[in-house]
Amino acid sequence: MWNNLFPNIEMQDLWVATYETFYMTILALIGTFIFGILLGLLLYLTMKGGIWQNKYLNMAVASIVNIFRAIPFIILILLLFPFTDFLIGTIRGPNAALPALIIGSAPFYGRLVEIALKEVDKGVIEAAKSMGAKTRTIIFKVLLPESMPALVSGITVTAINIIGYTAMAGVIGAGGLGNYAYFFGFQRREFDVVFICTVLIVLIVFLFQFIGDYVSNKLDKR
């Protein structure tokens, strides 16, 4: 039955492709989380009325964020080829996709982080200041914990973007389900492969969404 419906599926290849998609998504997610929070914090702290209010730094960071968000992902990958080659030593395979994935999604997540931080009650920050808190304490004990549910929902949205990006990166040789669907499905006219890859990607998206929602709800004590 399985063989009749999906004659061209090689379980071994499918497994490897799924594994590569997870591998790229999770590593890119970790990188995006770290760089996104850094960007978001910089945007938030340097904005007007912020703790490190600095018009020029804020403008510089905002410009970088805007520029990288404006570049279509598929072009960003091509643009980053020399950089990737220098950093990873190759432009093929899952590892080579990581710089582009992180650079492509960290600015987006950075904006979400900025929005989340702006939602933190100003009064609570003022209270922390009135207790004599250092900026570091305010960042790690007030800003980040108080915005954590929004940071988690933000990274969930970003994760789903990243899964989409891995498929795009796959088409130009990064591996994963996108790669498998394009080279083995589309180019060989074996559409059962395309179909199965689609189903798997949708399931992975659902999985990330479910985990994200669950964690965000658990963290929210409001």
């Binding site: 009064g123 003022e126 209270a127 108080e146 004590k221």
Partner: protein, 343 residues
């Protein structure tokens, strides 16, 4: 304890300069509960934030406990702030932390060791009456309970001064009273100096010893709460006193009432804060051979005693009435004003 000299705060906008606090000079004694009252926009919230430099003063000097706050650098200011507790209208608790961890927060900032921290938190929880709620999150507490957490948190580092910014304005009257009682209790037990900002005269009446009335960034009237209640000079102060005592319209009603009495003397008794004289009426009735008829009045209790007015009619031998009046004016703090002499 706290001395403030020529304190001002301006905000510059592109078009004009707004003066939030205008050249304030003030001294507050140790252990005092000092009230600052004013309508919104009077600059009282800015004023209290200037004291711990949550707002940077434009000019002037603030000295708290021999420490010149206005000349500290950023690091010294942080350390000094740990000795100045502050509570807020909207409590400003961290929703992500339990009651216990919220109270522990200032101790973490001050670098207190974990074991010591836990002991201190437990003490504070007992002090503010929240035992059993240690593990609750702020969202599970009522407004009054949240403010108790706020107070415990403000007291964690054993401050010498407690700043209260509209601390009861978000609470219902009953809860307000409970929180005010707690503040008085803390003031007496810990000898803490309390500065309290409010727009409710009721709060001033109930717990303050000294009061300053603010309008347009200036202190327009200041003194003992009783004096201010008894002889409000400024229009704004009169309005605040009316909040608690009712308006003078009631006196108009008295005029009609008075005209219906055809004998004796009608007089207005001003009670000013001596609890010892609360049995005044029965004392006079017993000592002098006159009848006393209470017509109308309102007496309210304050931190330093009773305050209010009472309209009475005294009937009987005129000489005896005069003797009674002499007794009241000479022997008690109650002031007598004869409204109408029938004879």
């Amino acid at each position: 304890m706290i001395s403030i000299e020529g304190l001002s705060k301006f905000y510059n906008t592109s078009l004009s300069r707004i003066t939030a606090v205008d050249n304030l000079t003030l001294d507050i004694e140790e252990g005092d509960i000092f009230g600052v009252i004013g309508y919104s926009g009077a600059g009282k919230s800015t004023f209290v934030r200037l004291l711990n430099r949550l707002e940077e003063p434009s000019s002037g000097k603030v000295v708290i406990d021999d420490e010149t706050i206005t000349s500290l650098n950023a690091n010294q200011l942080r350390v000094t702030r740990q000795e100045i507790g502050m509570i807020f209208q909207h409590f400003n608790l961290l929703w992500s932390r339990t009651v216990k961890d919220n109270i522990a927060f200032p101790l973490e900032i001050a670098g207190v060791a974990k074991r010591e921290r836990e002991e201190r938190v437990q003490e504070l929880i007992e002090l503010v009456g929240l035992a059993g709620r240690e593990q609750a999150y702020p969202s599970q507490l009522s407004g009054g309970q949240k403010q108790r957490v706020g107070i415990a948190r403000a007291l964690a580092n054993k401050p010498k001064v407690l700043l209260c910014d509209e601390a009861t304005s978000a609470l219902d009257p009953e809860t307000t009273n409970a929180i005010l009682d707690l503040l008085v209790d803390i003031n007496e037990r810990l000898g803490l100096t309390v500065i309290l900002i409010t727009h409710e005269m009721h709060v001033i009446r109930k717990i303050c010893k000294q009061v300053a009335v603010m309008e347009e960034g200036k202190i327009v009237e200041q003194g003992d709460v009783l004096d201010v209640f008894l002889r409000p000079k400024q229009q704004v102060t009169k309005k605040f006193v009316e909040q608690v005592m009712g308006t003078n319209d009631e006196d108009d009603g008295v005029e009609d009432l008075i005209s219906t009495y055809e004998s004796g003397k009608i007089m207005k008794l001003h009670f000013v804060g001596e609890t010892a004289n609360q049995a005044l009426i029965s004392q006079i009735a017993k000592s002098y051979h006159i009848d006393i008829n209470i017509l109308q009045g309102k007496i309210t209790q304050m931190q330093q005693g009773a305050y209010g007015t009472l309209f009475v009619q005294m009937d009987g031998d005129p000489d005896e009435i005069d003797r009674a009046i002499t007794f009241i004016t000479d022997e008690t703090s109650v002031e007598v004003e004869v409204v109408r002499d029938v004879e």
